[in-house]
Amino acid sequence: MSGLKVGFEFHQQLDTEEKLFCGCPPELREVEDADHSLVRRLHPTESELGEVDRAALEEARRKRVFRYLGFTNSTCLVEEDEEPPRRLNREALDLARQVALLLGSEPVDRVEVMRKIVIDGSNTAGFQRTALVALGGEVDTSEGPVRVETVALEEEAAQRQGREDGFTVFSLDRLGIPLIEVGCAPDIESPGQAREFAERVGTIFRSTGRVKRGIGTIRQDVNISVEGGARVELKGVQELGLVEDYVEREAARQRALLDIRDELDERGVSGSVLEPVDVSGIFERTGSQVIRDALESGGGVYAGVLRGFEGLLGKEVQPGRRFGTELSDRAKTAGVGGILHTDEMPGNGVTREEVESLRDAVSASRRDVVVLVADERDAAMDALDRVGERVREALRGVPGETRRPLPDGNSQYMRPLPGAARMYPETDVPPVEVSRERVGRMRGELPELVPDTVTRFVEEYGLNEEMAKQVARSGYRDLFEAAVTATGVDPVLAVRTILHYPRELGVEVDEGRLFEVMDAVSGGEVAKEAVPGILEELGRGDRAVAEIVEDLGLQGLEEEELREVIREVLRDRRGFVEENGMDAVGPLMGPVMGRVRGSVDGAEVNRVLVDEIKRLLED
């Protein structure tokens, strides 16, 4: 696709001990566990350059009231914007620098924390704290290199929970979790390259071994423009699989909008201004449910005319979304349900007669479109104003805006693109200097990239590729290596112990305890068969592995004790052994293992059993 420009911003949550600016654990909670709430309003402020951000102003016009849900045990006054932030979390900063260096990015000498004005309520302060950590860098893809522009460290926003009783509700648990943001230049020229780039960056994140996993822990903003179009930011694309769709559909949308502009140009439409008129009278006995509802709740019907727009509101800009949908989305930001327009009427309960009276009332010709908003007067007027703004943008082509990606690959208007005016210094957090020496040291101690780790694990430890990938991509790479090299535990058993068993059993076990378990197995204190039982026990409550081994009677038997157990089993089954000879070994493994309850390795049991059966047969 020529002229298509795609830029990415990646956001990855970090798995640090504490949040970015306070001592709270970066833990997600269930909304039902919230134990208190706050009600707040946000007001736009001037930046240090004396400008007010356009996106912030628009939010302010919406006059929303926010409710924040707090968790006494895991959120504090910092999230509630009731206490100044602590110093920038050094663990998170180090991780961001690691990622930067892995991307070939150059750390800045002094990190300055900024406030990025966001007054949609997702940040209690009305701004998000963010700091640029490094500049530049490059990632190779099969279709050529993609330049990295910036690596930033920022705080995660509060999680929107929806609307309730007139409040927009957010929970505070997510607010302040450290995020690394990687922004790239608009070098990407195909959806396939976009995907490959995204995967490369994801791999680098995982190589630090300290990133959060699971849905929502990595998100991408995708910036898309076509030639002659404008930069549109799709905010929070979670599904990498959908990136190609989003890029294609946004490109198609921008081209459709450019077509509309050209058509308007050809028609000679210019500066078409809406003139809102109260047309409630026409709809007194209407069959339209939407209009009736508005009238019954004390509202009215207000109409504006789009001169020369005939047929254009029905033009599809994305599959299932028409230009009229774009106008409607914009109207909704004024708090109304949407718009009705004559390109889709008669219909939806509106009769031909009503449409005719409507056209007469506002002196609209066949070439014009009449837009209706049925709501309380102020909201309806405001909505028509906003539709007017969107229409004027259509005359110029594609408006630069932030859009919400929809699950089907389409997108929906959120707000204007925020400008540089929304950034000013976070004066509560002192800047952090870094010396060249320290950066040099970090460069020497960078974590191995995941693909390299996989290759090495296959070669050095004889893991198959699948297992090697699992460990390399998990957060347990270092534990695995430490256990295998320090205790000599079988690498495959190590992977099972660290990853597979806990997952199958649904338990979470502390890393130190996992190490103890592997140490016990390789030291012969306990058989590998006993591992799941021990992990299950650890899942019930943390305690020393040695204690569990003793409680469960899992201490490894001395060979003489094992022989005694086997002889006992054989005594009871003498006839069976004499009848089947050495073929009795297989069937008798079960009863013997049952008696030793996983305290002896199966191979050892087999060896002694063979030995004892031989001896019995020779007798």
């Binding site: 009600v39 400008e51 509630e80 406030r115 910036t150 930033a152 004066t427």
Partner: protein, 417 residues
């Protein structure tokens, strides 16, 4: 590289463009087009080109926007006077220090809180610009004179914006110095005005509403809770900042707040001075030679002694019911004998001083200490400064224990703790 100029620099093999922000020492702070500031080592920047000159980006020069004082006009009918004294309700980012500093003119406050003018016509002016930790009794006097002047000129009510740290002291001082027929309302913000979440809007609007009310007293209006829902109006002599950072930091430990301010004003006390009830009077002479000292375990006599040498009056924040260690009793006794008026308050903050229960207390009374009843230590300090020029001997001791501006009460209500 000049501050405010747009430059292009080379750093390693990269070229960067941005506006030079106030920078110090070996770092240059550059504001990139993305809005981010980055700190770069000066010595590693090469090929510096200045692309244009300061000012073209709207970077304000130091000092602008704050010099609009002195041009006050007389308040008209039904107008509120808004007097600014500094603090974070009217603050601005300082490029040089990177910190928040007071510096908004009163007009700037109106621009930050346009809702104020929906409450009433506003006549705004700056009295002084100070962080409240720097406000001293001399400032109380100039503010008192100014408030008196505004009321004399016909203001319907007066709103004073102030830093939070010592706002309660200033409010207490004005309570004694100005007898007012209209409300005089202090307000502030705990979260600075440069953030969208600042509490300045609700506080300022609520203060303005209360300044139009019938409660003609000196008060402090601040958030009732952490939420932006309602504010409480506290009596100026009863209010104390009880939290370092929360929006609802201001409380009245030993009294009920005067009123709750939401959409409307809901008066919460049985008695208060009504609009027009008293005649406007200014009594602004103070004896600033009064000290406040907090007793602590093991406090040596030589730490306490200089207070008696230096001051004419001393407020002690004693332990519990109002005690200092037995070792200090003789120091106190000698101090009182030398002519220093000593008022005992409690570091418990809540509750009333009673030096008749324990022996040390009785020693205190015997030494000539006056019980400060349920007065806040800060209020006792201000009251003593104000009383010293007006009374002495038995009259002074009696007035200390007499409620003059609602600063103490005869009854300790059971619902206040």
């Amino acid at each position: 590289m000049r501050e405010g100029s747009r430059v292009r620099v080379r750093r390693g093999d990269r070229t960067l463009e941005g506006v030079v922000m106030p920078s110090k020492e070996e770092f240059v702070v550059l504001k990139l087009d993305s809005g981010y500031n980055v700190g770069l080592k000066r010595e590693e920047l090469h090929g510096i080109e200045e692309l244009d000159t300061p000012g073209e980006h709207g970077v304000e020069e130091e000092g602008t926007g704050s010099g609009e004082r002195g041009e006050s006009r007389e308040p008209g009918e039904g107008e509120l006077s808004v007097l600014s004294t500094g603090g974070t309700i009217a603050s601005k980012i300082d490029y040089r220090t990177g910190g928040v500093r007071p510096g908004y003119s009163a007009e700037d406050l109106l621009r930050a809180v346009p809702e104020l003018e929906e409450v009433a016509p506003i006549n705004a002016d700056v009295v002084f610009e100070k962080l409240s930790e720097n406000v001293d009794p001399g400032d109380w006097v100039s503010l008192a004179k100014r408030v008196h002047g505004e009321i004399e000129d016909g203001a319907e009510g007066v709103v004073v914006t102030h830093g939070t740290d010592t706002m309660a002291h200033t409010a207490a001082a004005l309570s004694f110095m100005v007898e007012t027929p209209v409300p005089v309302v202090f307000t502030a913000s705990q979260r600075s005005a440069d953030r969208p979440s600042s509490d300045n809007v609700l506080n300022a609007v609520s203060a303005a509403k209360f300044a139009l009310s019938d409660v003609a007293e000196v008060s402090v209006v601040m958030h009732e809770e952490s939420s932006d829902t309602t504010c409480l109006a506290h009596r100026g002599t009863r209010v104390r900042k009880m939290h370092t950072s929360r929006r609802d930091a201001f409380r009245s430990p030993n009294a009920r707040p005067l009123a709750r301010v939401g959409e409307d004003v809901e008066v919460l006390v049985d008695e208060h001075v009504r609009r027009g009830e008293v005649e406007l009077t200014l009594r602004d002479d103070l004896n600033v030679d009064v000290g406040l000292v907090k007793f602590y375990p093991g406090m040596p006599t030589e730490v306490l002694e200089p207070f008696f040498e230096r001051f004419d009056g001393l407020v002690i924040e004693g332990t519990g019911l109002g005690h200092v260690s037995s070792d200090l009793v003789s120091t106190v006794r000698e101090g009182v004998a030398s002519g220093v008026t000593v008022v005992m308050t409690s570091q418990c903050i809540h509750g009333r001083v009673c030096d008749r229960v324990y022996e040390t207390g009785r020693d205190m009374l015997d030494a000539g200490v006056v019980e400060g009843e349920d007065m806040l230590p800060g209020t006792a300090l201000v009251k003593l400064m104000w009383l010293l020029p007006r009374a002495d001997g038995g009259k002074l001791r009696r007035l200390i224990k007499t409620p003059l501006r609602g600063e103490l009460s005869r009854r300790s209500r059971s619902d206040l703790f």
